[in-house]
Symmetry: C2
Subunit: 566 residues, 2 copies
């Protein structure tokens, strides 16, 4: 097999269409499209209303088996499927999250799909893009400064300095900022307090931005953000601090979705990147509200496996957008399912264990317990699943077929795809299967009603999505749940913060674990974003750099071109 | 007098030209101009070479008397003068600094000129613009994370953890970040260390960005940044940490100057905003390298008074750009010179003392010692000064005339301007005077040669610019100067960090103090930016918020428009 060019080389060699033409393909008039440099642009939110009379696209969410350190290629499949519709005479539009620069310069070097199924130019996607993440950093930290300034200037709201939950954020992998003491130096330099920084993707502001269907809704969400509790134990909000208006001003342009294109000139909405662990991990509601009238199929990506990203897509994002999905693609790989047997030690960045490379369809079937469960998780929402077998060079036909067989046993459509090496035509069969699935009568329903208690909501997700026998609340969690209900947040959906590496709360348990209970250590509130998140395990919200950060290899060459970003 | 609309109202009511046409007015072809939204765009650095064959504009720097809390209207005069050239049949281009969001949301609410002499739209200038400041934040903090990561991962470079000088930055007014301890939490969370955050404008990366004439030069400057010293006392650089390449990639677009326009559609280059206290406080070299071929007159602004901003313009910025100025405008106001008598207690944001509003040309003459000295400071560089009397409503004719008389006594041209209320035609007389000054034979020279010692350079500036009797080096400063010379930085220019509120080092001394000595407490190195900065007084590098931050009044209205930003 001839060796493939790098993602960066492919991206650079791609012929791009003028973005105003790409917008035009979606029915967006030039006056609603603002270019941001030659590589990206923003779509005015007026497009939501103006496109409303156009036909509604079928709405397809791309999810996956429980992720392994190998990567299942979910973004690549989202891009590939979007492109594939063009190969079966339909118009696809994709919606994906914006990459965070922290990891880009920390570990991996880039996240825009891959090969001949990527969003281009990959430098734009992986660098600042149009500055939305920076705007979130800025708005978040303005509020943090206003909290500390309030404490410093007399504390009229009677905030308990030990009950300030609002931290600061930066889009960088910087472990030294996780736990810090601020306000040292003396009377003029603030009030000493222990606090810390999270990565910007983990900011509640990012989650609010991703869930707001309009600017006025965003303004209201920002106002509802709870930053602290006063000495009587009552929540203090960004509105109380008079910070929400200024934050909204800083986020006004960031709320407009970014338009780029794929390697095959398919429209690509790249917008927002809320953290998958403590937030809902889905791209923005406004992007989908525009994309849903921009073609025949809108393909949107949800983070992590179907138990997490897709569950939140169904129960958090669809609640906010009012949109309902027509089908869900569950991405599976031969190597991923082999890893789900629990027989191999797989470490990101290291080469695969020798014995994992041998032809072994039985292994694939054994690990497929995970796939079966994720198919069921999609069905639990009344949505038709389609399995995408994302083929990698070196996979044996028997192994790929084993996945197709498992899907058939579960009554699900399946297709083997080769979009990374072949572009959209490598996912044409998947597109046909998805089109069939979308043609079935729709029966979407939420997993739980708004008026269930928070505890019931957590228990429902634990039992029906994760396969747990039940939940175990710590005393702290119990008290915090009571507080949330008492403060009027009981109607919110829940976003369970657990490891994404297992259906269970233990990252080492592969496949589809049974006979376990979900431990809820504590419960936190994202009143602005609009969910409550129970913490079930160690949730790291600020990554660190490795011994050899990706940044060390990223540079410009003599012609001023970026190198090392792939 | 009818009341004037607010800056924001004027900005919003301004008819704007398509920015590609504004670029065209400067001789910049469409392919070298990239729009960033409807309000701003970036100019490709290729324009420097492509415009080189066009005639060179006259190069005019706008400086002022020693600033008072009242504000002398230097940016407004820069804009007004640029516009005024259009009223005398010439083509003006202006170059100004980008406003920092920290102060915008902290104290003042906006900085883009004022009235009918402002850069529009003022929301763009005062908010994220094209994200350059955020890119500086990002690149700066990536390097900080790499420093701490290096310490965490074995410290192969043998960095002395107590000799790390690289702090972190954010574009927010946040006093609680001035002094912090990072790396708490345990073994996985870094090495505890006392450090802090500066405002992004104070980042050495910002200064380097502003001084680099090309991308490859920026790459080299970033590599030269000294972040720490090793245990033998030798400097450790960003290059040693392999961080400079990734930083440069993050700054690649930020190096391209932003193009906007003024209220009268004059081209306005808005680029970079290095802090005036510890850095050189001038807009970018690349903007001026493009603007110098974009019209008949390039009007560029220097921060603070002529002893500081203009001195650094002459000796730091012109060294980096290779450009030489043809004239310097010294902005003076009636109220500013009255304040320089030292007879009035003037506080920013409070109304003026009653007795200061009475007609009193003698007061103006008494305070004009400061103006006389600043005129001499310009002349010391072989540049022809022109005094701009920036008239405010309520100034008496006799008072304005007093300034014109003082200028005449010093042999300098002068003109009374009303550009804030009348736009460019209110500065037409100033433009005529500047044109005459530019027609005089040029005699620009640096204040000191490269090969003078650092101590000689400081002493020359202290004596010749500030009017000091000499300098007094602390033992620390002496040792640090020796270190700088020994490490090969003796050839760099110096950027004296002293108060901008007095020609002396004591902010309470007005006029033109004599009989004093400049105390040099310590000396720091900005090897990447390319200067050494002696510290002569308390230099605050992270502002705080006031009791009523400007942010509290900034919001969006029901139509999604920004309010309160003026």
């Amino acid at each position: 097999m001839p060796s493939m060019p790098s993602d960066l080389e492919i991206s650079r060699a791609t012929l791009r269409k003028p973005l105003s033409d790409v917008a035009g393909d979606m029915g967006i008039e030039p006056r609603l499209f603002e270019p941001y440099g030659h590589s990206a642009g923003k779509i005015s939110l007026e497009a939501i209303e103006e496109l409303a009379t156009r036909p509604r696209a079928k709405y397809v969410v791309v999810t996956s088996i429980t992720p392994t350190p190998l990567g299942e290629g979910k973004t690549t499949t989202t891009v590939g499927l979007g492109q594939a519709f063009g190969h079966i005479g339909k118009r696809g539009v994709i919606a994906v999250r914006q990459a965070s620069m922290g990891p880009t310069f920390g570990i991996k070097g880039g996240a825009a799909g891959g090969g001949y199924s990527q969003v281009v130019p990959m430098e734009a996607v992986n660098l600042h893009l149009t500055g939305d993440i920076h705007a979130v950093t800025s708005a978040h930290n303005l509020l943090a400064a206003m909290v500390d300034n309030h404490l410093h200037k007399g504390n009229a709201l009677d905030i308990d300095p030990l009950a300030v939950s609002w931290r600061r954020v930066l889009d960088v992998n910087d472990r030294d900022l996780r736990q810090i003491v601020t306000g040292l130096g003396g009377r003029q330099d603030g009030l000493p307090r222990q606090t810390g920084f999270d990565i910007t993707a983990a900011s509640e502001v990012m989650a609010a931005l991703a869930l707001a269907p309009s600017l006025s809704d965003l303004r209201a969400r920002l106002g509802r953000i709870v930053v602290a509790y006063d000495r009587r134990g009552e929540p203090v909000t960004a509105e109380d601090l008079r910070g929400a208006g200024a934050m909204c001003v800083q986020l006004r342009d960031a709320l407009k979705p970014n338009l780029l294109q794929t390697t095959e000139q398919t429209p690509a909405l790249v917008h927002c990147g809320p953290f998958g662990n403590i937030a809902h991990g889905n791209s923005s509601v406004v992007a989908d509200l525009i994309g849903i009238h921009g073609g025949d199929y809108l393909v949107t990506e949800a983070g992590f496996g179907a138990d997490m990203g897709a569950e939140r897509f169904f129960n958090i994002k669809c609640r906010a957008s009012g949109l309902t999905p027509d089908a869900a693609v569950v991405v599976a790989t031969v190597r991923g399912l082999k890893a789900h047997t629990g027989r191999y030690r797989v470490v990101a960045g290291r080469s695969l264990p020798e014995e994992m490379l041998a032809e072994n369809p039985e292994d694939v079937r054994d690990g497929a317990t995970n796939l079966r469960k994720q198919i069921a998780n999609v069905r639990a929402h009344g949505v038709t699943p389609v399995v995408a077998v994302n083929a990698f060079p070196g996979d044996y036909d028997s192994e790929k077929q084993a996945i197709v067989d498992v899907a058939a046993e579960e009554g699900a459509r399946a297709a083997i795809t080769t979009h990374a090496t072949e572009g959209g035509k490598g996912a044409a069969e998947l597109a046909e299967a998805v089109a069939e699935a979308c043609a079935e009568p729709a029966g979407f329903s939420f997993l739980y009603p708004d008026d269930a208690s928070l505890t019931e909501k957590i228990e429902t997700i634990a039992r029906r999505m994760y396969g747990a026998d039940g939940i175990e609340l710590s005393a702290t969690a119990r008290r915090q749940l009571d507080d949330c209900e008492r403060h009027g947040f009981g109607h919110l959906p829940v976003c369970v913060a657990k490891t994404h590496l297992s259906l269970s709360a233990d990252p080492s348990r592969k496949g589809a674990p049974v006979g376990w209970t979900l431990p809820v250590r504590e419960v936190r509130l994202s009143a602005g974003a609009g969910f409550v998140y129970p913490i079930c395990g160690d949730m790291r919200t600020m990554p660190g750099l490795s011994s050899q950060p990706a940044a060390e290899n990223i540079d410009i060459d003599e012609a001023g071109q970026v190198v090392g970003l792939s």
